[in-house]
């Protein structure tokens, strides 16, 4: 375990005196909320990976004789306005929503780690300029900036990813920088420096692994908001475009038929909620078990 960020609340003493002795996975499984989150997450990952294979119908095959049908044994979640099987579309859409979230977060993680490390290691004018940029970006609500960027660039998958990355990376860079600054004060780093090891080797061998794992906790904590943001932007028509099945985009279609076919709403809504819930539970559990210091 590496050191905590600068702004840390007092450490919970009882937690320190009785450290959970087992491995991370064992500790996570013992955490009741994490167990529920893990089950949900595994279900969702399975859905994203195998959903398209499990779909009983072609998710994009319209059947105009069977429009807006109520749920039945043939169509478990009913059919949408073009007679497409809603259940198949939910199964098919998972990988778009969840995959996009993972893609965006990986980009942000990389950018945040690189920029934060550069700022934290270089200090001086580079640090000041980078952190000013971060401050400015963080002064705009992420979702507002994302809406504006994707609105100006035009809706679509690539622009959605770009907009989210631009409006979201700043916080990660700031956190990575503070972790790097913390790590630089650590006795083992100072010892390594005194032993004549170059900064490059110290960074790669001793600083970055710890910083990356701390940043990963933030990624997990943020996964829920990211899924919500992607589904929300697609819901607004700014993300994945129809006819491709994506949970947020499906929600905005089913909203139009909420009086005629109210059952259509729950199909994409429940998995979005489940994904956000699972991500939040997992993130909290991971934070609790790995880093009691940031436990608020």
């Amino acid at each position: 375990m590496t050191s905590e960020p600068i702004t840390q609340p007092p450490i919970n003493v009882t937690r320190r005196l009785n450290p959970p002795p087992r491995s991370l996975s064992a500790r996570l499984v013992r955490h009741p909320e994490a167990r529920f989150g893990l089950v949900c997450a595994l279900l969702l990952v399975g859905l994203a990976l195998f959903g398209p294979l499990l779909a009983p119908y072609d998710p994009n095959q319209p059947d105009f004789r069977a429009k807006l049908e109520a749920p039945s044994t043939e169509h478990w979640l009913g059919t949408d306005q073009s007679g497409r099987d809603q259940f198949s579309r939910v199964l098919d859409g998972g990988q778009r929503t969840l995959g996009t979230a993972l893609l965006v977060l990986s980009c942000i993680f990389g950018i945040g780690l690189v920029i934060g490390t550069i700022a934290g290691m270089s200090g001086g004018i580079v640090d000041i300029v980078l952190m000013r940029l971060v401050d400015i970006l963080m002064a705009l609500p992420s979702i507002v900036l994302a809406i504006a960027i994707v609105g100006v660039l035009g809706p679509g998958f690539e622009n959605l990813v770009l907009a989210l990355v631009i409006s979201w990376w700043a916080y990660y860079a700031r956190m990575a920088r503070s972790y790097v600054l913390n790590a630089r004060q650590r006795p083992d780093i100072i010892a390594a420096r005194l032993a004549g090891i170059g900064w490059g080797r110290i960074m790669v061998g001793h600083v970055l692994p710890g910083v990356a794992s701390q940043l990963l906790i933030i990624v997990t904590l943020d996964l829920g908001s990211m899924i919500a943001a992607i589904a929300g932007l697609s819901f607004l028509g700014l993300g994945v475009q129809p006819p491709a099945a994506e949970w947020g985009a499906m929600l905005s279609e089913s909203r139009l038929y909420v009086t005629l076919a109210p059952w259509l709403l729950l199909g994409p809504l429940v998995p979005i909620f489940g994904a956000v819930l699972a991500a939040n539970l997992l993130g909290n559990a991971l934070r609790d078990t790995l880093d009691p210091g940031v436990n608020r």
Binding site: T7, P9, P10, E33, R132, L133, D135, I136, L137, A139, L140, P141, S142, I143, V144, L145, I147, A148, I149, G151, V152, L153, G154, G224, A228, A231, G232, F235, L236, G237, L238, L251, R255, V258, T259, P262, L265, L266, L269, I272, F273, V276, L277, N280, L281, R296
Partner: protein, 330 residues
């Protein structure tokens, strides 16, 4: 813990760090505002296609001649270097001129201003609701720590945190508006109909803040000064209200400042769901019509409100907590 400053210093001397901290914070906000103006301005050159061509098409010229385009480029100063364009744009923006909407040809500021009251009503109600719910939830959770009310609140807040505003809005639409015919989807933005959309907007923030308040109340309840207060015979309610709450309020206050950003973005989405006639639904219409000055105006307004909100929160924190004045940080 005493909130007032030490009586040994003269009032003028003790006010000095406060004034210095206030001025510093104000300058910082102004610099940040200048920074976001660059980003907002950059949205336009970022947009694909030629702005002059776009504007002509928006004005109804279907097939603009090169001559028309060139004339407009000169008129809009698009042939000048980018930094000059930015400086001119900033100069106009400072004077309140956010240029004209492509769609209506009217000043963007006027169009946004017309829709601002509806958005303020929605966001303001949501803010009050979130604070109220968070306060009740946090206090109950801390008072009944580890007993059933606490566990219930923890469960509810976990669900609430994971329910983004647009999902809450859709659920309300399906189960309250359509099922029981309560509330309206096509409201004119009157205050009678604000409660339902505001509640949807409030849920996730209220849940988040309740969790936070509960945690910091519990931390305050574990501190020595509350132990002393209980030892001197203060009732549990008094300890919670008089001693724990003021001390737990500071981290809570900071979280509110951050949460307001989400409130601004979330209200746009809720407006789109409930067709609330505010700035949010106007912006989505503007995006569909590629009316970029309106989008710029929206971001500027959102940034301005967010910066103002966090400035106010920080100023209140400075006034409340003398510890922050000597270069300390919340």
């Amino acid at each position: 813990m005493s909130i007032s400053t030490l009586p040994t210093r003269s009032p003028l001397m003790s006010a000095l760090p406060l004034v210095r901290a206030l001025v510093g914070r104000l300058l910082q906000a102004l610099l940040t505002l200048l920074g976001i103006s660059v980003i907002i301005w950059a949205l336009l050159p970022l947009a694909p296609g030629d702005p002059a061509q776009r504007l002509l098409q928006a004005r109804g010229v279907q097939d603009p001649t090169p001559l028309q385009v060139a004339a407009l480029r000169t008129e809009l100063a698009l042939d000048r270097p980018l930094p000059v364009q930015y400086a001119e744009w900033l100069g106009r923006a400072v004077r309140g001129d956010l240029s004209l909407s492509y769609q209506t040809g009217r000043p963007v500021l006027e169009e946004l201003g017309k829709r601002l009251p509806a958005t303020l009503l929605l966001a303001g109600t949501a803010l009050v609701l979130s604070l109220l719910i968070a306060l009740i939830g946090g206090l109950l959770g801390a008072a009944y720590h580890e007993r059933w009310p606490d566990q219930l609140i923890r469960l509810l807040s976990q669900v609430g945190v994971s329910l983004p505003a647009f999902l809450a809005g859709l659920l309300a639409l399906r189960y309250i508006v359509v099922e029981f015919n309560i509330g309206r989807v096509l409201s004119g933005g009157q205050w009678q109909y604000v409660l339902l959309p505001a509640l949807c907007l409030a849920i996730s923030r209220a849940a988040d803040w309740a969790q936070l308040l509960r945690a910091s109340l519990l931390e305050a309840l574990g501190a020595n000064y509350t132990l002393v207060a209980s030892a001197r015979g203060a009732t549990k309610l008094r300890v919670l209200w008089r001693y724990a709450l003021p001390n737990a309020a500071l981290p809570f206050l900071t979280a509110i400042g951050v949460g307001i950003g989400g409130l601004i973005g979330g209200s746009a989405i809720i407006e789109a769901i409930f067709t609330w006639p505010g700035i949010g639904s106007y912006v989505f219409a503007a995006i569909a019509a590629r009316d970029f000055p309106v989008v710029q105006g929206f971001v500027l307004l959102a940034g301005l409100s967010y910066i103002t909100a966090s400035l106010c929160v920080d100023l209140v924190a400075l006034l409340v907590d003398p510890r922050l004045r000597d270069g300390g940080h919340a």
